[in-house]
């Protein structure tokens, strides 16, 4: 589904990604771990098409199509979803209104009519129940005054509403207490299917106890330096990133 080939990217004059290779197939869960500044969030942003990053070499391919010329919204229409580490606030725009706009824009791109209000309400009810979200929450302004946990839960709610093919969760566990973490992880697990894929970006192993990865990759200094199964995450937790850093140097 997703194929990243020798991807190099920079912001301003700083090279951040220095040759990433990654293949993610439908039905798989991949975890990308690594120390601060290793390029994890940059990788997520580049896949989503954030303009601020310049791809200097290599490419990102989704379902056989090079995404190079696609604007972020076009990538979204093709099924890429990014759960943001720091979701932005949009005052005066309710969660419901935002989702309605997002869904109908994606439908428009596929040549479909707006989703009928009744269907939309049903979808909202279904997904908010799944994620144990209070309906009152949905009429609040997007992310405005939300706690850290509410913001992340709202990201996963949006993921549930949009049903992406490829979901990238960028540090979704940061700022979550154990209950919120459990709810968010359960949500992601329920949304997993053989037709979609999830890439979990995380600093800690904690989230991976709930969302169990098929593959774990360790990112260091803009490159994937080690890949393995879920046991790699545990090993990292035990030995710390210095182990990888040292190994990389050797």
């Amino acid at each position: 589904m997703l194929k990243i080939n020798d991807l190099h990217a920079r912001v301003e004059d700083k090279d951040i990604l220095k040759g990433i290779n990654l293949e993610v197939n439908a039905g798989e869960v991949h975890a990308i771990m690594g120390p601060n500044g290793s390029g994890k969030s940059t990788l997520a942003s580049v896949i989503a098409g954030k303009e601020e990053f310049e791809v200097t070499q290599g490419n990102v391919v989704l379902d056989g199509e090079d995404l190079e010329d696609d604007a972020p919204e076009e990538r979204a229409h093709k099924g890429i979803f990014l759960s943001f580490q720091y979701p932005v606030e949009i005052p005066g725009v309710s969660v419901t209104n935002f989702m309605k706009t997002a869904i109908n824009e994606s439908r428009k791109a596929r040549g479909l009519e707006d989703m009928p209000a009744k269907e939309m309400l049903k979808l909202i009810r279904e997904k908010s129940e799944m994620l144990e979200i209070d309906r009152k929450f949905l009429s609040r302004s997007l992310n405005e005054g939300f706690s850290g946990g509410e913001k992340k839960r709202n990201e996963i709610f949006q993921m549930a509403m949009l049903e992406p093919r490829l979901a990238i969760l960028d540090e979704t566990d940061s700022g979550l207490d154990i209950d919120a973490l459990r709810i968010v992880a359960n949500g992601v697990n329920k949304l997993k299917s053989k037709d979609n894929a999830v890439v979990v970006i995380t600093h800690y192993q904690r989230l991976l106890e709930y969302i169990v990865p098929d593959f774990v990759h360790v990112l260091h200094n803009g490159k994937i330096v080690k890949s393995g199964g879920k046991e790699l995450a545990l090993e990292l937790e035990e030995k710390g990133y210095d182990w990888i850093k040292n190994e990389a140097v050797v």
Binding site: A48, G49, E51, E52
Partner: protein, 481 residues
Amino acid sequence: MAYTEEELKKELETKEYEYGFYTDIESETFPVGLNEDIVVAISRKKEEPEWMTEWRLEAFKAWKEMDEPEWANVQYAKPDFQAISYYSAPNSKPKYDSLDEVDPELLDTFKRLGISLDEQKKLAGVAVDIVIDSVSVATTFKKTLAEKGIIFCSISEAIKEHPELVKKYIGSIVPQKDNFYAALNSAVFSDGSFCYIPKGVRCPMELSTYFRINQAGTGQFERTLVIADEGSYVSYLEGCTAPSRDENQLHAAVVELIALDDAEIKYSTVQNWFPGGKDGVGGVFNFVTKRGLCEKNAKISWTQVETGSAVTWKYPSCILKGDNSIGEFYSIAVTNNYQQADTGTKMIHIGKNTRSTIISKGISAGKSQNSYRGLVQVNSRAKNARNFSQCDSLLMGNECGAHTFPYIEVKNKTAQIEHEATTSKIGEDQIFYCNQRGIETEKAIALIVNGFSKEVLNKLPMEFAVEAQKLLEISLEGSVG
């Protein structure tokens, strides 16, 4: 391609004025220039009684001695008042009873504006008094209103038919000498609307007037007078668009509202005069004086959506004379390219327990300058006066400006005054977030701007809110459009 700030800015600049077309209707236009003879000629043309002519002449005399104000945070080449023609009326003078009689080209103009009378008529209960180049050409729903004793007509007609009301109230809130533009308007106003709601009557429909400048080189001087008698209620809507022109057009309107004891007036405006080209050439100068008086327990609520004009100078105000009276001001002002707006309100608390609310939302894009200027004045006898003011500014790009000039004068220590202000910028992060959810940039900006303006949009009557939202999108679409 995703948008960078640079590209966004460029796109904002390329939006052409959507309503820039010109209707070719034969007009009767006075020679340019202003002197006593012209003032008298306007009055004669309108078959006004002697007292009205005298009143105009008094205003003209005062105006000659006055200087154009320079305190506003706007810069423009002052108009040459001797180069303007002060009267222009569509030729087909007699009023129409039905749409069939109206110049088809005129109807076409309205259709292009998306406000066709056909449509309007279908819209439940909206009476429309259209002012095109200063003279009313169509009035509908008049009969329904008459049954309630409501008078809704052009000011010219009111001067002839209801002189006692006009004589009593005209200039009572905005005196002839109030300011330079009000004096000019008092001398040369060509037409406008008049509305009287009798005691205890609740006006059954929203009253609306569409203004439109439509003749090259003519200024427009509207005069509006709304009187809500004791215990009555009226919601008045005013909206305007203007065709594209190279030279500057002057618009100096005066609006006076009188809310007698226990009465309520809601006055809503959507202003979309030609804002000038993206290079800052042309556009309307909009120098407006709007003021209302509240007697005991009365309420006046101003709501405005200002998207047009090259230069705007406008402060819809409330004089809270009666005890327990309420004044409200809800404003959205959008400036783009080289537009300049200096707008706000004055809340003058005179009576006891008077309350006022000010919500101002300024949106600046391009190289525009957007200023809020407001005065909250609590007089010594205004015990327990309360005011809440909130001024929010939204910036797009790095070349525009937002300014806030709040003035507070309090002479009674029981007053409670609150002022809140915020300034924010539409960030690349917000746009990217929306893009990532599949929302393209233009739509994202519309969404953010509508969210920002929501508190004010909510105050507009339903049928107007939709149009206003569309206008915001258009103004920012091109500018953002």
